[in-house]
Symmetry: C2
Subunit: 365 residues, 2 copies
Amino acid sequence: LNAGQLAFPFRRFQIGKVYRGERAQRGRFREFYQADIDVIGDGALDIINDAEMPSIIYRAFTALGLRRFVIRINNRKLLSGLFALMGVETEKAGDVMRIIDKLEKIGREKVAALLVELGLAQDKADALLDLLTCSDRGEDPLQQLDAFASQNEQFDAGLNELRTVASLMAGFGVPETHFKIDLTIARGLDYYTGTVYETHLLDHPEIGSICSGGRYDNLAGYYTDRKLPGVGLSIGLTRLFFVLQDQGYLSPSLLTAPADVLVIPMTEDFAPAVQLATALREAGLRTQIYSENKKFKARLQYADKLGIPFVVFLGEDEINSGKITVKDMASGEQTTASPTMLISGMLQRVAALREGAPIRDKGGE
Amino acid sequence: LNAGQLAFPFRRFQIGKVYRGERAQRGRFREFYQADIDVIGDGALDIINDAEMPSIIYRAFTALGLRRFVIRINNRKLLSGLFALMGVETEKAGDVMRIIDKLEKIGREKVAALLVELGLAQDKADALLDLLTCSDRGEDPLQQLDAFASQNEQFDAGLNELRTVASLMAGFGVPETHFKIDLTIARGLDYYTGTVYETHLLDHPEIGSICSGGRYDNLAGYYTDRKLPGVGLSIGLTRLFFVLQDQGYLSPSLLTAPADVLVIPMTEDFAPAVQLATALREAGLRTQIYSENKKFKARLQYADKLGIPFVVFLGEDEINSGKITVKDMASGEQTTASPTMLISGMLQRVAALREGAPIRDKGGE
């Protein structure tokens, strides 16, 4: 750790390849891209950061075009305190956490059975599950939890944190429709110490969380004696885009081609095409020359396969008259005029193609 | 190789970590970032691509602010043919190539000695070195080479390619000041089959090539039976930025801070700061809240260390009057007014800070 050279609180964001030890599944590859945001404090890190991290995710998802998602938040201190109040032994809190985390996957009955198996009385297990799922019945979790206040220090600390985070998230501009206190979220990983997050697409609960994380006050303890508490969120990009692609979320009209214009020279001498391509590039159009000796149809197919919106033909006639022929690949329309006449139209069309959001949130339209 | 799914010519650019087998040196790390551009053809790849690749590098370097550099080009077919004409046995052409490549490092005399050692007659070695360095004496290499035309097929092919590449590079908008035919460039690596490139900073020849590459017609042959000729250029980014930093090329005024504004709340309750930060973000300013319980001086130092241009103070007085106090960290000037009054000024200043080129080419100013 180069902790000595950093300015704390240290904020990092990173997009990179990461690896998973578990077995690969559909859309869950062993090597995948992950995007992380984290903030790490030196000694202490204010709870305000627990509210700011999800607000950044809200902004990023919204900017990409995603609308119908909800960031769910919970607090593990609150859960641990609650378990203690329900008579769960401290050393079993982690096990209960992992069982609770399976609620969505295996259902309430199986979770209750597992809790009883772990030593919880049937009525305590029922009471616990009633409480954790109270928002499903339209009840306000914070209000329900208030009934347990002032009996357990950890519970009180957690409840206070959760209340603060929820209030500050609203302050950071996350609308009520996009976050939710969900007491059933525990996160399986043991290093989370307070706030935990999961993010779900409203129309695709089966996909699971697309962005998760939480507060980890002791994680850096593996590497250094310094106390470096942090809070962060991760997006499994490979999986997210696999799923978005699969569900038709990715906007097909968005310009993803490596070029805006393909210049097809119709003469042996490439010099006029090179000159034209240079002029088009200087005007701001990303330009490629098709220089392979292929049939006319194959040249057009190349533009089509790459999704290049415009093809420019440059033959003897055009060179002699100082004109070019532009084919709009979407409409099939062909226009012959001087390059200067045609450039601004192409620039406008390309700017329009670029403007749309990359993710087309079907539910929100 | 997923060659079956690609559209040829396939153009790729990639920035990623790569590793070197050689020993590490100052600025030459074992793990480093490299940027590559390549174009790969299916069966054939027109010579026009050999001219386009360096023109892309010219554009990229110029856009970054680099001015005083020269892209040197040569052709290995031409060299091989020339060696044959000088009486070098075919199987020794590679060795001669590697010796020639050392010209800049070890000087003409040692190179001549190595060539004689390899079996070349002293007068042949001298004639060869005279020819290769003819541009140092103000002679035109293409004109000098013409004297050897029509005696060796490979030589003729190489000379023709070199002449075409030079002519098309000018067509692609690379000014004569920024490229040069240099017959002493051979590139040590055996997989180059035609055009080769090196790029040097005019004011720092000692740095060596900052961007090199060439045509490789048989490289993919290691992996597939298909003929996939390619041409490409690589920039060793880690080394380049190490050198640029070391030589004071990186512009210190360019905004590299992770935020434009640091909001420092002077009250216990963070809610007003959160609200303000949200408003600043919505106005387009990248905003961070300083939430740590540190002394006033330490808070300012944090902004200073990260290079954040503006600090906003939010105390009781400001909150009650609906105003904020903005400190411009560069000038030290402090202004108190409503956020709306101050936002456009901050946006303008930030836009101006962002505008400069990242590389400040000292020789060109």
